[in-house]
């Protein structure tokens, strides 16, 4: 079952070495830092993909990086870790190739790329680590390194957003560490290979659980802890925002899955008041995120609030405590990563090419940037949850999961109906805030230069930025028509959890 393997070390060592050596690379081959980063992520992606045959055969890859201390850093890649890891590294690779074009004229691309690689180390470390303490170390690395991405532009607004981000991130991390220590002293183990740490009946159980939810929830951006997201996003480089919203918030969601199904165990959580509370937080998160997004006038804030709502879907799937619900939540991690990265990359291309950022200024942009707007439309339709796209698949499974949760007795009937109702309501709200953007982009004209826009050449960015966007936009359709692969892996994971 367990198999010693050095592959997780490879996946993490490539970006780590890259982050250290990038300044030297930039001096030797001037201006190639971004391209170097992209190929480093490609190498890391290959290492992660090479794990697939072992994972598919039902093995768990383990490796202990001993440091001479009694507890080394312990890597353990099971199906859940691999699933979140492969989608993270694939999105990261595409965004890195996109940022070759995007960061061309930005200040200090070397610093951006070095911290992007360090953040990748943190992200892969979180999903591949085999005990809570290794997870904590990588989680903090993720927080600190991604803070440098958020503050990259060093403008006043960027610093204001970054300070909210770092104080929330660090307080969350400390509360998480507090909970980890409590778990260790109560249960005597922090190793993920045990399912259910035996905390049943412990008087500290509510404190431990709340600590984990706050710690991971800050990173995930669930409802009461989401303030860093809309304040840090508008001024951060758009490729960093695509990474944060597409990938990094999944580290929080991954942590919550580990908490509910690994540390607590589904048997302990069933019928518990704590799970019901988390379910309601998820539902409020879905509703508040969508409602706040409707009022936004700026595209990156709109997408940020949309992420709050979408992370609520994932947490809802986790807390439903039904196999299909968990499957839906896991598939939504996969699908949301693709969709949100595509949306932010399109938005970044629009902002960079036109220099505009408010929604009302994007009217008629479909005629100037047809390819980017086409991809944006695909991703937006997928986010709304229209059937041929992949957003529909996960929402469908979440709705089925909510009904199944009632059937197997995890929740009473009216909670199931409420969950399905909120899911449908939120889809309509997504339509309300994505609809006008898409409609305006294609069918409305800008007043100032009406008629002259056709005579201008296309404003679409160069191929190095277009290709990653196109790949992701096609992936929204491809995984909507052929959802077999993510669904199968998610089913395997949820079967192992129950």
């Amino acid at each position: 079952m367990n198999q010693q393997s050095i592959l997780p070390i490879f996946a993490i060592a490539f970006p780590l070495i890259g982050a250290v050596s990038i300044r030297w690379i930039d001096k030797t081959f001037v201006g190639q830092a971004s391209r170097f980063t992209a190929f480093i992520t490609l190498a890391s992606a290959i290492s992660v993909a090479a794990m697939y045959p072992h994972i598919n055969a039902g093995k768990i890859l383990v490796y202990t990086l001993s440091t001479g201390l009694p507890l080394g850093i312990f890597f353990r890649v099971d199906t859940l870790g691999f699933f979140v890891g492969i989608i993270s590294i694939c999105i990261w690779m595409l965004v890195s190739f996109y940022s070759v074009g995007f960061m061309k004229d930005a200040n200090s691309p070397v610093r951006y790329n070095a911290f992007s690689l360090l953040t990748l180390v943190g992200m892969l470390g979180v999903v591949f680590s085999g005990d809570l303490f290794s997870l904590y170390i990588f989680f903090e690395l993720l927080s600190v390194a991604s803070f440098m991405l958020m503050a990259h532009k060093q403008t006043r607004v960027a610093l204001k957003g970054a300070i909210i981000y770092i104080f929330m991130g660090i307080s969350g991390g400390l509360i998480l560490l507090f909970s980890i220590i409590l778990t260790y002293s109560m249960a005597g183990t922090i190793n993920f290979s045990i399912i259910g740490f035996g905390l049943k009946g412990s008087p500290f159980l509510p404190i431990i659980f709340t600590g984990y939810i706050i710690g991971f929830g800050v990173k995930a951006g669930i409802f009461p802890l989401h303030f860093w997201m809309p304040s840090a996003y508008p001024e951060a480089p758009t490729c960093a925002v695509a990474l944060s919203s597409g990938v990094m918030i999944k580290a929080g969601a991954y942590g919550i899955i580990r908490t509910v199904y690994g540390i607590m165990g589904s048997g302990l959580m069933k019928g518990s008041l704590l799970t019901t509370a988390l379910l309601f937080i998820a539902l409020i998160s879905i509703f508040v995120g969508s409602a706040a997004a409707i009022n936004q006038t700026e595209i990156k804030r709109l997408l940020g609030y949309s992420s709050v709502s979408q992370i609520g879907y994932i947490i809802l799937g986790v807390t439903l405590l039904s196999p299909t619900g968990l499957q839906g939540g896991l598939v939504h991690i996969f699908n949301h990563a693709i969709i949100k990265a595509a949306l932010f990359m399109c938005a970044g291309a629009m902002i960079q090419q036109t220099g505009r950022r408010y929604l009302k200024e994007f009217k008629g942009i479909g005629h100037k940037m047809p390819v980017v707007t086409f991809c944006f439309t695909f991703a937006a339709l997928s986010m709304i949850g229209l059937p041929p796209f992949n957003g529909f698949i996960s929402k469908w499974f979440l709705a089925i999961g909510a009904l199944e949760a009632v059937k197997i007795g995890s929740y009473s009937q009216w909670i199931g109906i409420l969950a399905v109702g909120i899911l449908i309501l939120s889809s309509f709200m997504n339509l309300v805030y994505y609809g006008p953007v898409v409609y305006g982009a294609w069918f409305e004209r800008e007043k100032a230069d009406s008629g002259s826009s056709e005579t201008q050449g296309s404003l679409d960015p160069g191929t190095d930025m277009l290709i990653p966007i196109l790949i992701l936009a096609m992936a929204t359709l491809a995984f909507g028509l052929m959802p077999g692969w993510p669904l199968n892996i998610a089913r395997k994971i949820s079967e192992a959890m129950f």
Binding site: P70, F147, T155, K160, I166, I170, L182
Partner: protein
């Protein structure tokens, strides 16, 4: 509830930890000066370390010797315990974990102080209430 209280009273060091945590968290949330916020963050960190150490503690326990030779001479207290047949060892793992946690907190403090410098350069103040009121 009685069980909860008994656990609390038996480990008074945990109570101190919680009080320290609350003081630090109060400073982190309520104080408007950035430097005071960072000091509050450090107090929270200290409380978590204290908690980690306290969770490992055994009364009159000996320090674990990882790299020591097995025949190394024990000190007086350890020798007395060893003679009684109960050489209680303090759990070594939290002490090892804490080193990493301290490294994390040092880097976090460094990065937030550098941010405070940048904020002061840009806004001319460290008062977060003023910073949030000012337009970018």
């Amino acid at each position: 509830m009685i069980g909860f209280l008994r656990i609390l009273l038996s480990r008074i060091d945990y109570v101190v930890t919680v009080i320290l945590f609350c003081i630090g968290f109060y400073a982190l949330v309520v104080k408007s000066n950035l430097i005071k916020k960072i000091i509050g963050m450090n107090i929270v960190e200290t409380s978590v370390y204290l908690f980690l150490i306290a969770s490992a503690d055994i009364r009159l326990g000996a320090a674990t010797k990882f790299w020591a030779h097995p025949n190394e001479v024990l000190n007086a207290a350890e020798a007395a315990h060893a003679a009684a047949g109960e050489l209680a060892m303090v759990n070594p793992i939290p002490s090892a974990l804490i080193l990493t946690a301290i490294v994390v907190s040092v880097s976090v403090t460094a990065i937030s102080l550098s941010l405070a410098v940048k904020i002061y350069e840009n806004y001319g103040t460290l008062d977060t209430r003023k910073i949030m009121r000012l337009k970018g």
